[in-house]
Symmetry: D2
Subunit: 364 residues, 4 copies
């Protein structure tokens, strides 16, 4: 495998399997001088953590992160930040069944084709558990963006299966287990999820992420456009099947006079662009929306094959999220923050405009 | 600017402005031994070329490509392939107006924020003309994929504004000016476009791209997933606002039992995944769909500001596509082919499994 | 900081400061199926470890490495390998002096100019302690190269200050504390080092590294030549000031008839090229040689400035290697192995020619 | 092949074979606002051009470069700069002999092992003619460094075979055909070359390159050190077999008290470091030295093999430099300038501190 690194100047490289010894991450390129403690990361990790409501998996993952390097006397030094989460809830169980089968809609079959070997315990590297490290790295980016640049990256669940949020009240997002910004829809979501759990089935979801306060001028036209990098980052999240920027797929039926965001000296009159024009930020909020597929691990039997190509019926026992989308909000925020951070550094330089007060020696 | 290169082992780097002297491209990493002539590239360039029907811009761009390097006695040698298209239709006209204004929904405003300077003639580097070189490079990838691996990458227009194709008949795609696979819908599309032109407005579109014959095992899990790289590549095309893989946004309302593609020894029973599981190709067709926004250049006046921040009314004269989506089919194919080529080389190596028959010397 | 990653397909990313909590590393791109245990890495780490003779620093660093991911049931899976060494010998001492001064020939002054902040404890990130992780990662590369391809990467100290080895007896290299291949010169080296320690001064050294069994065809011409990547890798080792390939600087006074390595069907008649022609391996041994500067940490006073620009006299107390070159042999081997591994994967693909036996599903 | 790109934020990608249609280059990442014309590039191209004295090859290569993009109204716009040199002196000759043989010390044999095919005309891609494009790209970097930052990158030939320059008089460098800074040695060099030509043999050389005015703080510690990137860049030049920074190989026999560059408030007291400490520039001049091997193309017969492995005697007729080192000075300058430019952008950002005066819109 390669491809475990994201970013060009602000790079995040992760390792770790679902049921291995630990998850880890190296953040390379964080500018010096940022105050940083484990608590800054833990906040977002706790938002992603399972078991905080009856609507997510009941697995216990403490997800306690340690900062191993790159911070000195409470501040980043510009050197790589090593992060580690030791796995604590590796239930020893019988994996013989899963080892011999390819579960439908999982990466079992494709990993075997690529590598000829796989760590089947809990999905190994293909488990969404890997995203814990993205959340931790994203928390560093979010902090820098907020403190140095006044950029706020926030997400919410805008749709859970057939139930759509109809209002965006940021104050509500943290007040319910769904990250739903519309309090009126929460009871409907709860009822839907309760029924779904009984049924044994799972459901998809939609997450929106918005960055406010992004200055104009970030993004590299052509291939490394801000929106293209966002699409890359968001589509790399487990279970994501679609990405929209601004008006997204609604653009298909829009006319030019409707879509184009007119400008006045006071500002843009609409934001169909989602804050990106020609791949470069316009100063408007960056708006993205993603579709997450329903969880593939179900106790309802499904047809599949075993490792020798014979037909089998697969039933996934164990503790699984009936809607992986619910816990995806902090992951999507993290990926957007990482992309913005990377482009900020590309634009303004690796040191992030830090002040340097060291005397320059004359030349003898 | 940086970011004019796409790919890791099969890399495509482009240069050139809409009204500059030339467009060019370097393809680095094409394996040796592929038969290649200009005609192989011209075929796809001609599909993207404007002026082939009344429904696209009437600009004349011959888009004649020359291969300047990397091919010897009709075969690629493994060295970089330099491509060049000289610009011939640079109408000398008065650009004083466009120079002083920021057109809405264009990159004028953001380029100025990024660079403090811009080549405003025809949109300069932000013009979709840049994609000619992607098409040329994609043609090389398509040829390699087809001849060496039996992979076929094809696209079509599935929706033009409100008009949706309802059948997929590949034989029809090249038989109408829209790349529409449903012959029954072509008259409706023609009528729609004729009315639109009269109106002076523009409209969005949806393009689907499919790769058949992709072997299982391509793609790097985590950040460089095949689907994430596809999202990156497709979102980097001018005017694209959304990308879906497989079931895409429909996944939101799907239940797990519906979405998961069950497997039998004879094959998968559905393809909601769009041919990618865990970021790795499954052997099923790779299926992507993109949304393109309506053209921003309109003769209907729109509110905007000038370079000093004063309000102005912008009217774009000149020859423009009322639906940029129409000509986007070969571009989308090109980007998918480039992504597949890159991942094939990452998996199988830079020399693309070429045979080498040179004697190995013994060691004295 | 960025630039903590080396390699393109076989990438090594390190973190950690000399006196921080831990050193760590992520190896991304190791092909699947390689048998790997901590013992495989420890062997080389122990060769680099200080305190094994009176001629190196008497610091105690256990340098015990743990493999945290990427290995399942004793074999690599193709997923990233996370490595960790916890620091155990962080003597708590008074750093107030070093914090306020820029030691000559150290990175103190330049780090402050770059970052405006530095972890001064033991040199922080600029300490040669960082190379422990290179050695660990290199051990993985060496194992793959040896077992899969029959490539052997070995180094030795060819010169310690004025004392030059005159014979190359590989069996002697591990028999003395200097990695010297000429047993007759060992007493002279010992005497030299004993005198040097008394004096309080330090000395430079030369290390040679050779890879035997490299097949022809590895390396990418132009910028990513095998020799250019080797120069990059070797020059990135702390204290290295020069790199030679093959005849190196002797080439200056060689005539073409002398330098050119003639070929016969039985093999090359000489190896002035050092195994690389046009940036590509020739099948001959790859031969590199590096110069290491004398240790900069001395108890003999030197003139310097403090952080405010005032003149100071610096005396470095503590435990330091009088010749950093002595422990550099395994580091140089590691870097050469990493470069070869990377180019092998670029040539042959990410999966390293592993066999895959998973059934391919038919298409319904 | 891949690896035809150098740099991370200031990237140079080249194409073209010795006897192909053209050489080309894309410079991606040049900051906006730099005044640039073809004449700025031609100056350095003419210094590299053959046939300017009897001591270099008598081939005629006009090497006239055209700027195809990235410059608007005389200034760079931040978009990629496309460069093109059409080949004019492609003598049609009989290549049948060279096609069937592997010339000693050339890349013929290794290219065939890598690609299974090669463009044998004039060495194809492995010809030093490729470096013309490096010189052109380097000229852009040199101009930016000089005008914006006051950095001057200059080189000279310090040794031609056995004849060493003993003085460094910059005013002399352009006054003789060798780029020799010691006028007293020029007659000796001329006599040496005249005898060598008669003999039919070739000789190696040493080139020094120095950058004055580099501010402290450039370079990324660990793998992307300024000196490691320089070693990479310089070793990637055809025929280079060794690279030194500062004291280089002399460091081996230096004691620490001698090597360490002491500091006073007025400046460093010596420059054994060559301007780099811990991989970061110190503010002192950056000093590098390289060894170039003698030309491999000789009319004196040499033993070799043909493509089938049979022994042959090779005689290279045609027009060749008896000392490739002579024309290498501008190439070495170019590579150093490209490295410095890249690290400046990494440190300070892609826009190179350009001023932007576009109004920021308020948010409605």
């Amino acid at each position: 495998m390669s491809g475990n690194t994201f970013g060009k100047l602000f790079t995040v490289t992760t390792f770790g399997e679902s049921h291995g010894l630990a998850l880890g991450c190296i953040i390379d390129g964080c500018p010096p001088g940022l105050e940083l403690t484990e608590a800054d990361l833990q906040k977002d990790l706790d938002r992603r953590k399972p078991g905080t409501s009856r609507h997510t998996t009941q697995r216990r993952e403490a997800d306690e992160v340690r900062i191993l390097s790159g911070v000195f006397e409470g501040k980043t030094t510009g050197t790589p930040i090593g992060l580690l989460i030791e796995n604590t809830d590796q239930r020893s169980k019988d994996y013989s069944k899963i080892a011999g089968q390819f579960r439908p809609a999982h990466a079992d079959y494709t990993y075997m084709h690529k590598y000829g070997i796989r760590d089947y315990r809990g999905g190994g590297r293909s488990s969404a558990r890997e995203t814990a490290m993205r959340v931790a790295a994203g928390a560093v980016a979010k902090k820098f963006l907020a403190e140095r640049l006044g950029i706020q990256v926030r997400g919410y669940l805008s749709q859970l299966g057939p139930v759509k949020a109809e209002k965006l009240d940021w104050d509500q997002v943290m007040e319910n287990p769904f990250f739903c910004p519309d309090a009126d829809k929460v009871p409907e979501m709860e009822a839907y999820m309760d029924a779904l759990r009984k049924e044994g089935d799972s459901i998809g979801a939609r997450i929106n992420v918005i960055a406010d306060g992004v200055p104009p001028g970030l993004g590299e036209p052509i291939f490394d456009r801000l929106d293209a990098d966002l699409a890359h980052a968001l589509m790399s999240i487990n279970a994501v099947k679609g990405v929209e920027i601004g008006a997204g797929f609604d653009s298909i039926e829009q006319k030019g006079t409707e879509h184009r965001d007119e400008m006045t000296p006071e500002g843009f009159l609409s934001n169909n662009a989602g804050g990106v024009l020609g791949g470069i930020s316009s100063g408007q909020p960056i708006v993205a929306s993603i579709a997450l597929k329903p969880t593939s691990s179900l106790r309802l039997p499904g047809r599949a094959i075993d490792v020798d190509g014979n037909p089998v019926e697969v039933i996934t026992t164990g503790r699984h999220d009936p809607c992986v989308g619910i816990r995806a909000t902090p992951i999507a925020e993290a990926m957007m923050a990482i992309v913005l951070m990377d482009h900020y550094l590309r634009h303004r330089g690796q040191n992030g405009d830090v002040e340097v007060n060291t005397p320059v020696l004359g030349q003898l």
